[in-house]
Symmetry: C2
C-alpha cells in the first residue's frame, strides 16, 4: 500500500490567470505529488490548490510552491473578501490512505520548519498540529490579518512556532497544520443583502451556537450582486452537508430569502455526496456497499488478498 | 485493461435461505466472476444476483447457476408478487468497462444458446439482443407467466429464439439479453392501499404516459402492511432517480399519501447517487471530477499513461 496524504495550500491570488498558472505549473512538475485541482475565486482573490502525494512528494511540492509564490505575489498589493495573513496563507495536511493523523502532524511540522528556515517566513502551527490550545483555531491565528502581523507578533503570546517574530515583507506569515478533510461549501442567496447572509452564518456556525464542525461567514459577491453564506464543513461524517443545507434554507426563510445555488470549492469526498443522496432519497437500506464501484473495489481487493 | 461485464440473473426463489445459499455458493466458486451482491425479497419470492466478470467467467457462472437452480427450484410450487416465467427468470448482460453493448449482445446469445442446448430450456432474447421488436420489452415475453407458457409457445409468433417450443417442466423459460444498467428502486407509502400505489405507478411509468425509461407497478407488502411503488429505472443518465422520486411524491400527494422510505435493490452506480446529491444540494458547478476519489483515479491513470 502507498501512503497518501492530501495537502490543500491556499494562496492569496485569485485574479491574475498568468500568475496562478505559473504557480500551479511549478507545483505540478514535482514527482510523487499530483495536482488534483485548482480553484480560484475572484472576489476572495484566493486560489485553493489540491495536491495528493507521498510525504516526500508533498514536501517538495510545497517548497516549489513557496519559490513560485515569493516571486509573483506581494501581499502589500493584495485585496480580497477572504481574510488572509500570508501569500501562502495556510497549508493543511490531511490523511487519505494508509496514514495516521499523527504522521500528518509530523509532516506539517517538518515542512513548516523547512519553509521558515529557507525563506525566512514565520510559521504558525494550527489544528491538530497546534502547540497551544488557542492556536488550534485558524481564525485566532489569522485575526488582524497581514496588515496587523507586526503588532501581533510583538506580543509574546503570538510568537510564531518557527521562523522570525516579524512578518516576511511580501509574504506575511503562514499557518501549517494537520486536520480532517474540509469541505469548502458556499450557498448563494436570492438577495444582495449581506446582512441576511451574515445573520444566517451566525445562526448555523458552531462559534455562535449553531452546528458543530461548521464555520460560516456572510459575504457580498459584487460580481453577481448576491449575498453568500461561505462555509467550511470540518467533519462531514459527523455534521453532514445536507443538514447544513437544510438549516441554511430554514434560516433564510426567516428573512424571506431562498438558496439559489451551492458551490463546491475544491474537491469533495464521494462519501459526503453519497450520504446526501441517501438522505434526500430516503433510502432505508443505505450502505456505501450498495454502490457498484465500491462493491467491485472491495471484492477485487478481497480476492487479491486470498490469492497467494 | 480488463473487459468487465455485469450480469444480473433473477431467480425465482426469495424465501428459502438454504436454497438461496446453495445457489449463490455454486456461482461464487467460478473463477473470473465476482459475486458482488445478492438480494432476496420475500414478498416477490425472488433473488437478484449481481455478478461482474470477464465474458468467459460469466458464461461459466451462468452455467453453474442453472445446474444449481435446476436441482433446487420447481416453478410448479412457486408463488410470489413478482411476475416470472422461469426458475432462472431473466439473465441480462450489462457493459461496465472496456466493452461495447454489441459484445454484450453477442455474449447473451452465446450463453443463451448454450443453456438451451445443455438444459433443454427455451430461451427468448430481449432488450438490445431482441430478434423482433415486440421482444425488446421483457414484459411482452413474460406476459402469461410460467402458467401460460405452454399455450403461448403454441403461437408461432412466440417460438423461443433457442431451445424447444415448450416450457421446461420445472424451470419454465428464460429471457437472455443485453441492456444498460438498471436500477431497481422501490418507494414505500404511508398507506396500505395498493390502489394508490397502482395509480402512482401508472402516472409515472413510460407505458402509460409517464417518464421514459421508467417501469413501475403498485404492490401491497403484507409483511409491512404498506403499499409500494416498485420500479425499474432503465436509464438513470437520461431519467435520473431524483426526478422519479419527486414525481412519485407529487402524485402521492394527490391521494394525501407520502413516501415513507426508498429501497435500492441490488447495486446502484455511483454516478446515479452523485447526480441526485448535486440536484438536491443545488450544486451550480457540479462535475463528477469534483469528487476526490474520481480526481485521484483520473490523475493516476493519466500519469501511468505518460510514463513509459
Amino acid at each position: 500500500m502507498l501512503k497518501r496524504i492530501e495537502c490543500v495550500p491556499n494562496i492569496s491570488e485569485g485574479r491574475r490567470p498568468e500568475v496562478i498558472a505559473a504557480i500551479s505549473q511549478a507545483v505540478a512538475r514535482v514527482p510523487e505529488a499530483l495536482l488534483l485541482d485548482q480553484s480560484s475565486d475572484h472576489d476572495h482573490n484566493r486560489t485553493v490548490l489540491t495536491l495528493v502525494g507521498s510525504p516526500e512528494g508533498l514536501k517538495n511540492a510545497i517548497l516549489a510552491l513557496y519559490e513560485a509564490v515569493l516571486s509573483h505575489i506581494d501581499l502589500r498589493q493584495h485585496e480580497g473578501k477572504h481574510p488572509r495573513m500570508g501569500a501562502v496563507d495556510v497549508v493543511p495536511f490531511i490523511p487519505i490512505r494508509d496514514v495516521t493523523m499523527k504522521e500528518c502532524v509530523a509532516l506539517s511540522r517538518e515542512v513548516g520548519q523547512t519553509v521558515a528556515d529557507r525563506f525566512g517566513i514565520p510559521v504558525y502551527l494550527y489544528a491538530e498540529a497546534a502547540t497551544q490550545p488557542e492556536r488550534a483555531v485558524l481564525a485566532n491565528i489569522r485575526k488582524g490579518e497581514f496588515e496587523g502581523l507586526t503588532a501581533k507578533m510583538a506580543d509574546p503570546a503570538w510568537r510564531p512556532d518557527f521562523g522570525p517574530a516579524q512578518p516576511h515583507p511580501s509574504a506575511g506569515a503562514s499557518a501549517f497544520g494537520a486536520r480532517f478533510f474540509l469541505i469548502a461549501y458556499n450557498l448563494q442567496l436570492d438577495t444582495p443583502d449581506v446582512k441576511i447572509a451574515q445573520a444566517i452564518a451566525k445562526a448555523v456556525r458552531a462559534s455562535s451556537g449553531g452546528l458543530t464542525n461548521v464555520q460560516a461567514m456572510g459575504l457580498y459577491l459584487a460580481e453577481r450582486n448576491q449575498a453568500q453564506v461561505s462555509m467550511n464543513l470540518l467533519n462531514y461524517a459527523r455534521t453532514p452537508i445536507h443538514r447544513v443545507q437544510e438549516l441554511v434554507k430554514s434560516e433564510a426563510a426567516r428573512f424571506g430569502a431562498r438558496v439559489l445555488s451551492s458551490e463546491i470549492v475544491g474537491l469533495i469526498p464521494q462519501e459526503a455526496l453519497l450520504e446526501a443522496a441517501a438522505h434526500y432519497l430516503q433510502v432505508e437500506n443505505w450502505n456505501p456497499d450498495l454502490v457498484l464501484e465500491n462493491a467491485i473495489l472491495r471484492k477485487e481487493s478481497t480476492e487479491q488478498r486470498e490469492k497467494p
